[in-house]
């Protein structure tokens, strides 16, 4: 079967620093792949290269077999690839519902149809569903900027699912989220993966979270993949322990 995401020999240099060094991997449909590694190991840079935020120095990316290197993030989004960012990124002045509608409205149609069409772009029902699914109904009409950190994190994740994506890249979804909320988030992600067959790539520092969520884990250190495998094998891998604990 053709992989949903195929990353081939991606290298990204910033001046003299090689942030991502010749990284290749692929993700199969319905898989939840975790990417871990110490700070500065190149995880977020790798995401940015995959999603068109940065242009890789060399190498290529393909989604569903179609080469996407050089495409802009908005083009990738329309191909069914969405993401969350490491730092919280919601639109504080829009309310929760509007944040969600915005996240889905650009996926179909033209500029003109959006101008002439319904104000909610026909997404109210989908937004309500997402609000229920992520248990945000109590704050649905509140401005996103007024929500608690955990709720904003849930909204941030919910926004990534509004366009019904095939592939979602999550950059530290668990960062700064309390334990209850974390369990909730993990359960929601697993449910979406099971129900909709969405494929995930997750960057995470929280080991319990990543080990229990992902089926396969990739370890980055200094821009290179140093280990790859199921959670249990990764936990016992001496190279991983070395990378995390230092010399």
């Amino acid at each position: 079967m053709m992989p949903v995401l195929e990353v081939s020999d991606i290298t990204k240099r910033f001046g003299g620093i090689t942030a991502v060094n010749d990284v290749s991997f692929s993700v199969a449909e319905g898989e939840i792949l975790g990417i871990i590694g110490p700070n500065g190991s190149g995880k977020s840079t790798l995401f940015n290269c995959i999603l068109g935020q940065l242009t890789p120095s060399s190498g290529s990316v393909a989604v569903d077999g179609r080469k996407t290197t050089g495409l802009r993030p908005c083009d990738l989004n329309r191909m069914g690839v969405s993401r969350t960012f490491q730092l919280l990124q919601v639109f504080p002045q829009l309310n929760v519902r509007e944040n969600l509608i915005l996240a889905g409205q650009e996926h179909e149609g033209s500029m003109l149809s959006r101008l002439l069409g319904a104000p909610d772009a026909g997404l109210s029902a989908a937004a309500n569903q997402m609000i229920d699914f992520f248990q945000l109904s109590r704050v649905a009409e509140e401005r996103a900027g007024g929500l608690s950190y955990g709720q904003q994190k849930l909204l941030d994740a919910a926004m990534a699912f509004m366009a019904g994506p095939r592939l979602v890249l999550l950059d530290e979804p668990a960062g700064g989220v309390n334990l209850t909320m974390l369990g909730h988030l993990k359960e929601r992600l697993k449910a979406i993966n099971a129900e909709k067959g969405a494929t995930f790539v997750v960057i995470e520092h929280n080991m319990d979270f990543v080990m229990s969520l992902c089926t396969r884990i990739l370890v980055l250190a200094e821009g290179r993949i140093i280990a790859e495998g199921p959670p249990d094998a990764i936990r016992a891998n001496p190279a991983v322990i070395e990378a995390y604990l230092g010399h």
Binding site: Q53, C74, R83, Q89, L94, I101, E106, L115, M162, A163
Partner: protein, 321 residues
């Protein structure tokens, strides 16, 4: 409930605007027409700056381009509606091109790019005498006649500008409540995130510039027949700053902001005229006080008051058994 209250307020304002010319002297009607014209220009800048977050100090240039288009095409025999449209479309196109720097630079850097554009356009107005009449300007600009309805008299022209204001206001209101409005706000608040959600930020940025500029051009196209004499100094940086002030004082990013801001900017100098040489001083102090205590402008103040009221009624409801 709130939509009904809004509709009632809107109806009362419309009644007042229609009724006022019957009790005002011609000069009062002129001032009111000036308010309508300035509101359209500010409406445009509010779209570019208030909603889409792209600062522009070029609104005076588009105002001037619209005014000169109407003033120069009229004597050539071009009917007013065509000249008026041409001015707006020309500004749309130039605004689109001016949007390109905004794709690379932001905030005060963008302000400087648009500032340079204002200076450039001013120099063209002043130096290209063969086209614009240079410092002598263009005089004797005629007010249009529509199917036998002459707008030469002050009240008639006022009703024409008021109708145009209503039309453009409806257009902007429609756009703001459509998905475009949401995309513009997303562009202002977080362009990187917006891009990752599929928002084509490049196209929306250019659109925000082009439509805002076109509205500036339309306002200028009404300004020329209103004052019937135009000269380059009217479209220098001072006017750009004045329109910017209208947007900020009224409340950037609020739909009603530009109308209020234009009201203050057009009426206050008239009211403060009694203070003679001190009116600019008083105006400046007023603006400084407002900005210090309410940086979101007058509409920001209104919103704060509304939220406080809501909270109070909620509290009293909670207390009631």
């Amino acid at each position: 409930m709130t939509t009904r209250a809004n509709l009632i307020i809107l109806g009362l304002i419309a009644l007042a605007l229609i009724g006022l010319p019957f009790i005002l002297k011609p000069y009062g009607i002129f001032v009111l027409s000036m308010w309508a014209v300035m509101s359209i220009a500010a409406l445009g800048l509010n779209l570019t700056l208030g909603y889409a977050g792209q600062i522009s100090l070029a609104q005076a240039s588009f105002f001037g381009i619209g005014a000169y288009t109407v003033a120069l095409l009229g004597p050539l025999g071009v009917p007013f509606p065509l000249a008026f449209l041409a001015g707006g479309i020309l500004c749309f196109l130039i605004g689109w091109v001016l949007g390109y720097p905004a794709l690379r630079v932001q905030h005060h850097y963008l302000a400087f790019v648009t500032l340079a554009f204002t200076t450039l356009v001013f120099l063209v107005f002043r130096n290209e005498e063969w086209l614009t009449g240079g410092i002598y300007g263009v005089s004797g600009i005629k007010r249009p006649v529509f199917f036998g309805w002459s707008t030469t008299k002050a009240p008639d022209f006022y009703f024409f500008t008021l109708g145009m204001l209503a039309l453009f206001s409806f257009f902007v209101w429609w756009m703001i409540r459509s998905p475009w409005g949401r995309a513009f706000i997303a562009l202002r608040e977080n362009p990187v995130r917006a891009l990752s959600l599929g928002v084509d930020t490049r196209r929306y940025t250019l659109m925000a510039f082009a439509i805002g500029s076109a509205l500036g051009g339309f306002a200028g196209g009404l300004y020329a027949p209103l004052v019937q004499f135009i000269e380059p100094n009217a479209f220098a940086l001072g006017l750009s700053l004045n329109i910017l002030l209208m947007v900020i004082v009224g409340g950037a990013g609020f739909f009603a902001g530009p109308f209020l801001g234009a009201l203050i900017s057009v009426l206050l100098p008239e009211w403060l005229r009694a203070t003679e040489g001190f009116y600019l001083l008083a105006y400046a102090v007023l603006v400084m006080v407002l900005m210090a205590f309410c940086p979101t402008g007058l509409m920001g103040l209104v919103e704060k008051a509304g939220l406080a009221l809501k909270r109070r009624t909620k509290l009293s409801e909670a207390k009631a058994p």
